[in-house]
Amino acid sequence: MAESTVDAMTRPDHVTKTRRGEPVTLLEAISEALFEEMERDETVFMMGEDIGVYGGAFKVTRDFQSYFGADRVIDTPIAEAGFTGAAAGACHMGLRPVVEIQFMDFISPAYDVITNYIATSLYRGSGPMPLVIRGPVGGGNRGGPFHSQNVEMAFFHTPGLKIVYPSNPKDAKGLMKASIRDDNPVIFEEHKGLYRAPQLREVLPDEDYVVPLGKARTEREGSDITIVTYGMMVHRSREAAELMEAEDGVSVEIIDLRTLLPLDEEAIAESVRKTGRVLIVHEDTRTGGIAGEIGMRINEQAFEWLDAPPLRVTAIDAPVPYAGPLEDYFLPQVEDIVAGLRYLAAY
């Protein structure tokens, strides 16, 4: 586009770690994906609050503006509906915008334009929406009710949208690239608790890879019980699975959904047909959570194979409280998953 000036000499260090064979965090993996896509395709540009000079509240786009210019990394007014709607307009003109919502909790003012305009554009004959709406989600950081939300269920019910929620750096980079290249609007959730988690740091393939949307991943093979989960809960589930293996000799398979919409029904059904027992684990609140849809898909696709009811472990049905003890109580813990697995194992 007009004023973008790409100077290969000054690529910021923190987006070239993979080229240098260094391990990256989930946050750095996302930064690399965004940076590489902007270099690869000049129709990709970004809008959001404080993403330019400041590099974003979590520094995901640090130094992007000085590298790509202020026309490709645009600091917006505080107007989630305004700039998300504007991004939709840009899609019509052949651009591929990526908008950052500073905290995904603040996507709510854009609920109208996302569900009514963006999700319906193709169906109404107005054309595709190659748009990515990304930002930090999730609890455990003492952020209180408005800096801790998971937003998938605000949009999961809207046909036309895709929803992505990575659990590790490798997936995050590949999924972000796939999302940017997808011609449909994608809501991309990045868990604050995973952003810089040191234990997730890994060396990524130094190549232009994508992780296809709509395909789940087997995080861990197992034969007795299936856990269907995503995001932060993949890791709590692994802890629980290892504990079950060690203490109870129960073998737990973990399906990491990666993409929530469209849901990889086949991967879920296949695992359940193998184990006959399933626990759905999500960090989000219970009633109306995604576990319902997953359970229903299992009823439809694998009922005959069930040896026990599909059950779920989730956050409690309340806003996200601020105080540590309250928030920890609000969130699903490893002990909850273990309790759920034990109940299913004994069923």
Binding site: G85, A86, A88, H92, M93, Y117, D183, E266
Partner: protein, 355 residues
């Protein structure tokens, strides 16, 4: 009746006779199509709401006439409202498609999925609007931002009623566009009403130009029944926007002479006001003007009008004869790479399993 402002404006407008006649035809075409639509509605051909722009045709035609109109996707773009029949036709939208949309025909631009002027044509510069008011300011902000980013000297014109100005979307979109210096012109259709709500219960401003300074953008008010006045005001704003002048606001003052939609009896409206505005009918005004200025005779204009009415009637006939869409088309185009799945209960032998 002729008034100075108008006389001067023809000269200033500097339009040739055939251009003036083109404008005349556009005004007549808009009204003819809407009148024909009303007939189809009364005959039971229209499922959804039927909207009129009676008395607002000059605003619609005059503003769109100031645009760079193309059919290859390189021209200016408008975001039309249900009151912009005239602008839609001027941009290249066909009366046939207009009727198809209202009649939900399978051959309509939206395949029967959407209604009325809610259709998109990027070649001719028509955005596909949605109903939630205010949204299109946000969309047009992004369209015109793209013009600036790509270095294209195109302009976007977004129409909205007085009522839409109360929405957060209108505000967020307008402020964003103003800050980003987008080549966008916001046309405020100040027709006195939002459904049954008078403008005074919508806002405390006397004129929407008072909102301009709050966004740091120029704003002018124009007589929305004077097609040339609207044309000139829009041409100025559009040229300024095209040349880096950023966002402009134009208030078109006129009156919604019909109910909000067909079902609205307008019993909340003072009949005297209606008469008053009927006396300022934009088409009668412009006709008189053309005759006065010797651009055409009554007879010539009658002839053109008859011709237009006939063409519009033909288009309506064609649309009426066309079929409704194939039901299963409801499944298509939810995603670029997938439609909605066929309900399991509609399989030859119903089974929820994907087998």
């Amino acid at each position: 009746m002729s008034d100075g402002s108008a006389t001067s404006s023809t000269l200033i407008a500097g339009l040739e006779g055939d251009q003036l006649l083109e404008i005349h035809d556009a005004l007549v075409r808009a009204r003819a199509a809407e009148e024909r639509l009303e007939i189809l509605f009364k005959q039971g051909h229209v499922g959804g709401g039927v909207y009129r722009s009676l008395g607002q045709e000059a605003g619609s035609v005059g503003s769109a006439y100031a645009l760079r109109r193309r059919d290859d996707g390189t021209g200016d773009i408008i975001a039309q409202t249900i009151r912009e029949t005239g602008a839609v036709f001027l941009m290249g939208g066909r009366p046939l498609d207009y009727f198809r949309q209202y009649l939900a025909r399978g051959a309509s631009p939206t395949g029967g999925r959407e209604a009325n002027v809610h259709w998109c044509d990027w070649d001719r510069g028509l955005v596909g609007p949605v109903s939630p008011l205010g949204t299109m300011v946000e969309i047009m902000a992004g369209i015109t931002l793209s013009f600036r980013l790509k270095g294209e000297d195109r302009v976007g014109l977004v129409y909205y009623g007085d009522g839409a100005s109360s929405t957060g979307a209108w505000h967020e979109g307008l402020n964003f566009a103003a800050v980003q210096k987008c080549p966008m012109v916001l046309m405020v259709e100040a027709n006195g009403w939002a459904f049954s709500t008078p403008t005074a219960r919508q806002t405390r401003v006397q004129s929407f130009t008072e909102k301009g300074p709050g966004y740091g953008i120029p704003a002018v008010s124009v007589d929305g029944t004077d097609v040339l006045a609207v044309y000139e005001a829009t041409r100025e704003a559009v040229e300024s926007a095209r040349n880096g002048g950023g966002v402009h606001l134009i208030e078109m003052r006129y009156y919604r002479r019909k109910g909000h939609a067909q079902h609205d009896p307008q019993d909340y409206v003072d009949p005297a006001e209606l008469l008053e505005w009927e006396a300022r009918d934009p088409i009668r005004r412009f006709r008189a003007r053309l005759v006065e200025e010797g651009v055409a005779t009554e007879e010539e204009l009658d002839g053109r009008a008859r011709e237009i009415h006939d063409r519009v009637a033909e288009a309506a006939e064609v649309a009426v004869e066309e079929p409704l869409p194939d039901p299963s088309a409801a499944l298509d185009d939810v995603y670029t790479d997938a439609g909605a799945p066929l309900p399991w209960t509609r399989r030859s032998n119903p089974d929820p399993r994907n087998t």
